[in-house]
Symmetry: C2
Subunit: 339 residues, 2 copies
């Protein structure tokens, strides 16, 4: 079995992130740690430049990744960075493109990526049928992110938004909240909550948690908007103008929660004293804003491992079976915003 | 002259960012705005799919970008997003790669990018001589980010860190601060402050501002560390443990400032009451943390415009002269952390 970055990290007694950072030339690694990593690399025979093996195999050694956006919401930039770590860890090179948000921009980004030499592509499904995405991949192996269709035709990883928002809502209920708003989703009548679309699935998580506690699902408790900080801030201002009728707020994403907390600070509303807030994603920012933000975090290391692992197993011929379907692990992280 | 996204934005009465977001399929544009943008696109004959022109020219229509990291510090993910906006605005496709931090990782990323079909590359210089970067580009046009050498051999854009940190330090002096620490740079004796390296140039900006005000440059007022939030937080804890001897702190980057503010909150130290803080970069986060962070902001729209504009003028044969050198514009943004 090939020596991985994980083996090097274990031998050197440091984290995989530190090894990755040091090997790509990070400047702030202490001399002692750098020496330990160099020793582990030599001892284990870890090959940092593995391009020779692609020359023999006829492969390119490149994996291409398409993510919605490169910066805000920070979830995607972080996820891209995690996938690039895994790709380089496995001895491949990574290229990243922005895929945008809807079917036509996803189609276009996949066409663009498949014009480049690569062995495989990881890209958001964006609601495009997997049969079409397969064709656009022009013979390359493709792993999808968030293909919510009932019978995916390609390997896919899923950010389990429905389950995450249900956990977030249940946390507020456990804290005694009863008037719980949700931010970042449009209103849908209950009859249409079966749609397999990201926002609707998150809304369903909220509705399910409320109903299990015998609390009414109210249209006027929903605030729709793009998943970013600007929108969260503006919604906080509106909620204060409306007389602050809530004791808890669930946000579809952490970016919204960061904006909401700031928007309440603008108006002198104290979180969690006046209202408790929970987000979803697990961006590193959560721990850095004041108050820090309670969230249901997706284990991104695990999710990136799964995406890259599935793709490489196809590229290297270790797996040739039916499409696989892997969900990210979730964890409730309680911080100041819901204490 | 080709119709640009800017023309469409002006006609539709919205920002370039909104047009860009709408055209790549953003879901949260109102029906009215979307209709205005569609009308402007048709009226002006703006071509969103311009690949036909590359088929005729023999070019690929692809521009590749290499940035230090894809997520934290958020400066680079934001800068990448801005450049991708400009590249797509000009009718090209964008590919992004992580270039890491030092000479060997920059070399490797440029080699990788030049294995891909593209018309040009924008990449961090990373201290590698431009003659070597030119060779690694294999005949492609190359624009550098932060080539600080005295006589750059390629077009380059510069983030003016020295001037920015001088402005940040002067702002604290104007506010009456006299015991001003700097975070994110190593100590250098004055005799070595001439080095053209990012950290040293930022340190020089701080030293210059102090000396102009007749304030001594003190080794024990410097806190070295990687430019991220974790490090900033840990340094705040150390400063509090040392008895908080400062009335002002200049941070080499905004990520450090965000971490510092959070670290002081952990210890019950109030900003700006106990100490004023200024950062450098202008990441969007500055306005979202509590307290919001005063910074010297780089005009990233302008800088991305310059980088992409210089590259395309070479690709399309509109300019074939001596290497150009463009600096980003700076602006002091005073917020709560220094009031």
């Amino acid at each position: 079995m090939a020596v991985t970055m994980k083996d090097v990290a274990r031998r050197a007694g440091v984290s995989v992130a530190t090894v990755s950072y040091a090997l790509r030339g990070g400047q702030y690694v202490s001399e002692e740690v750098a020496a330990n990593i160099r020793a582990a690399v030599e001892e284990l025979g870890y090959a940092t430049n593995q391009s020779a093996r692609y020359l023999r195999s006829g492969r390119t050694g490149v994996i291409a990744v398409g993510v919605h956006e490169l910066d805000i919401p920070y979830f995607y930039s972080r996820f891209a960075q995690h996938m690039v770590d895994r790709i380089e860890n496995a001895g491949y090179k990574a290229l990243v493109a922005r895929s945008g948000w809807n079917a036509s921009s996803v189609r276009e980004s996949l066409e663009r990526l498949s014009d480049q030499p690569s062995d495989g592509i990881i890209v958001h499904a964006g609601g495009v049928p997997s049969s079409e995405l397969k064709r656009l991949g022009k013979g390359r192996q493709v792993v999808l992110i968030d293909d919510f269709s009932a019978r995916p035709g390609l390997d896919t990883i899923i950010v389990p938004g429905e389950q995450g928002i249900r956990m977030a809502t249940e946390h507020l209920l456990d804290r005694g909240c009863r008037d719980i708003a949700m931010v970042g989703v449009p209103y849908m009548p209950k009859s249409r909550l079966g749609q397999r679309v990201s926002e609707v699935m998150r809304l369903r998580g909220y509705v399910t948690a409320l109903e299990r506690s015998g609390i009414e699902y109210r249209r006027d408790y929903l605030y729709d908007g793009e998943w970013n900080m600007d929108v969260g801030r503006e919604i906080a201002h509106r909620i204060v103008a409306d007389g602050m009728p809530y004791d808890g707020i669930v946000c579809a994403t952490d970016s919204l929660a960061v904006g909401l907390v700031r928007g309440f600070a603008d108006r002198g509303v104290r979180v969690p004293d006046a209202v408790r807030i929970v987000g979803f994603d697990g961006i590193s920012l959560d721990d850095y804003v004041v108050p820090s933000i309670t969230t249901v975090a997706v284990d991104m290391d695990d999710l990136a491992d799964k995406a890259v692992g599935m793709l490489i197993s196809r590229i290297e011929g270790d797996y040739d079976g039916a499409p696989r379907h892997e969900e990210g692990r979730l964890k409730l992280c309680v911080r100041e915003s819901s204490r």
